[in-house]
């Protein structure tokens, strides 16, 4: 058990002393997860809204597909994105393999079904009376859309947090598409995997604590926003 306690001790000294290697991984994670959550919310919320709000043919099968994709394994996404981005692949010319934007593409694919599915659920569970209320107050179509979105914000936010958690903690995509290159594409999770293999528990624990701290910050921020309503 001793090595674990030593690991904790070492973790704090790494964090407090501002160890550049540790902070490089933290920074890479924050950057890449911000890209991917940003783009998945930008694409996913409007799509999820449409999926939940409108009735159209094939809605149910589409819902089932989205729900299934929520369980998409990260290594499988890693494989697909790798295949597209490698220089023999169709998007090879962009040179995105082993870069942070490359990881972000994979993570966006990972987060999108969650954002779409959970936004659609939030919008579906909205009261029909809300629509009547908004139209009867004189809203036009755009205002109806924006007000409905705003009323569904709690559910959509829950989806966003779930997606952010998934993106922050995944290893498969970061490892396969990013290549775990030190100072460059090494993220918190790939670093933990590597350091643990090397028997370096200290850095692993330190990075694990940082992940937890980020999760805590996000949740505190969200509950603050909710309370303000």
């Amino acid at each position: 058990m001793n090595f674990l306690f030593e690991g904790f001790f070492q973790a704090f000294s790494l964090l407090l002393s501002g160890n550049p290697e540790t902070f490089s991984a933290i920074w890479a994670t924050v950057k890449v997860s911000s890209y991917s959550i940003g783009s998945s919310l930008l694409i996913g919320i409007p799509l999820g809204f449409c999926l939940g709000y409108f009735d159209f043919r094939g809605k149910k099968p589409l819902r089932t597909i989205v729900d299934t994709l929520m369980a998409l394994p990260t290594v499988f996404i890693g494989l697909l994105v790798y295949a597209f981005l490698t220089h023999r692949g169709p998007l090879g010319d962009f040179g995105l393999l082993f870069t942070l934007p490359g990881i972000a593409i994979g993570q966006t694919i990972l987060a999108l079904p969650l954002v779409i599915g959970l936004s659609a659920t939030a919008v579906e569970s909205m009261d029909q009376k809300l629509r009547i209320m908004i139209i009867s107050m004189g809203a036009n179509r755009m205002q109806l859309f924006l007000s409905s979105l705003w009323e569904a914000r709690h559910g959509i936010l829950a989806g966003a947090i779930a997606a952010y958690g998934r993106v922050m903690t995944e290893v498969g995509i970061s490892m396969m598409v990013g290549g775990n290159i030190k100072w460059h594409t090494r993220t918190i999770t790939t670093a933990i995997a590597l350091e643990t293999n090397k028997g370096q528990f200290g850095m692993g624990v330190a990075l694990g604590l940082v992940l937890l701290a980020i999760a805590l910050c996000v949740n505190v921020l969200v509950s603050f926003l909710r309370r303000r309503d």
Binding site: L130, I132, M133, I135, S136, M137, G138, A139, R141
Partner: protein, 351 residues
């Protein structure tokens, strides 16, 4: 069917109707819920909608409120064809649905919502506060309350205040007092009437509160199975009907009196019966007339015409009888009194 509505005083009879419905047919999942050939509503009038649940009152209000588009036919507002989101109408018509629904915001922000949609900047706050005051919710106590900290009656009043603040040309009220306490009901009634008095707002009110509608309405439309068929003062008896043999149909009332009717078109048809008070010196018409006895349960006054309406319970079935003041006085029609009523078989209409 053509229903032309008289105007309230001071309004030119040649005014363009505020609403005109032409050849309207509305259905959900292939089932027709509303069928109105022609309907005109004059500006600044008060129209009551009466009818059992599922008769199409709410559907009519949703169509007039431009929430839904009719399956067929057209709705004209101020002489122009309108549909959901029409710019000519969306700021002028507002609907208060039966169950209050508030946005997940404070009371004040709920009332400000519609005003903000209209982007009329500075004057919004005083208007919101005034509207809240009208429904008996002083702004200083209520404006910062969140949506969840309100009673049912208060929520309905906030919803009404949000509509009154818009100073609408048309206010559609769907059973506004059905699920609220008596004090809230009174405030809602007063505030809606005030809007019509001060702003000339046209009110269209669906309600089961027959007495209230009688008091305030210029016209009452009776809806049944999606069709307008009368003034709301008819006695309607619902099936199922029994075949008593030898061509007689009818049903037993709860006090075992026999209510006889002509042969119904189907088991579930409803009979519209024209009931008269039974005076001793009435002319006798052989064989055609049915007399029932019942107890007067309610007397109400139609303020506009001065006519009295008595509700008479035969068993548990209510019959409505129109009387002049003189008749009421002569026969001392008072609640609690047992009276006879009569109707002619050949005047029964089936719907």
């Amino acid at each position: 069917m053509f229903w032309s509505h008289s105007c309230v005083e001071g309004i030119d009879k040649l005014d363009t109707p505020i609403f005109e419905i032409r050849s309207l047919n509305h259905s959900y999942a292939g089932k027709t819920v509303l069928e109105i050939e022609h309907l005109k509503v004059q500006p600044a009038s008060i129209i009551g909608l009466i009818g059992p649940n599922g008769s199409g009152k709410s559907s009519l209000l949703r169509l007039l409120g431009l929430i839904e588009r009719p399956s067929r036919g057209e709705i004209l507002f101020n002489g122009r064809r309108v549909e959901p989101f029409s710019d000519e109408a969306r700021f002028l018509i507002t609907l208060l649905p039966q169950e209050p629904f508030l946005l997940k915001r404070s009371v004040l922000n709920n009332v400000l919502y519609g005003l903000k949609l209209r982007r009329n900047g500075k004057e919004v706050l005083p208007r919101a506060n005034e509207a809240l005051a009208r429904v008996g919710l002083p702004a200083k106590d209520f404006s910062q309350r969140p949506w969840y900290a309100l009673s049912g009656g208060e929520a309905q009043r906030v919803a009404l205040a949000a509509r009154l603040a818009l100073k609408p040309k048309v206010l559609l009220l769907d059973e506004p007092t059905a699920s609220v306490d008596a004090a809230s009901a009174q405030l809602i009634k007063e505030a809606s009437l005030q809007a019509r008095k001060e702003l000339g707002t046209t009110l269209i009110v669906a309600s089961h509160d027959w007495q209230w509608l009688n008091e305030i309405c210029d016209e009452i439309l009776h809806l049944f199975k999606g069709k307008i068929f009368g003034t709301g003062r008819e006695t309607i008896i619902f099936g199922p009907w029994q075949d008593f043999g030898t061509g007689k149909w009818g049903k037993f009332l709860s006090d075992r009196q026999q209510l006889l009717v002509t042969a119904p078109p189907d088991q579930e048809a409803a009979a519209v019966i024209d009931v008269l008070p039974d005076s001793e010196n009435r002319p006798t018409i052989a064989g055609e007339e049915i007399v029932l006895s019942g107890t007067v349960s309610r007397l109400s006054l139609e303020r506009k015409t001065g006519q009295l309406f008595a509700t008479i319970l035969a068993g548990d079935t209510p019959f409505t009888v129109g009387l002049t003041f003189q008749q009421g006085k002569e026969h001392t029609i008072l609640p609690g009194k047992t009276v006879s009523i009569r109707y002619r078989l050949d005047q029964i209409k089936w719907i």
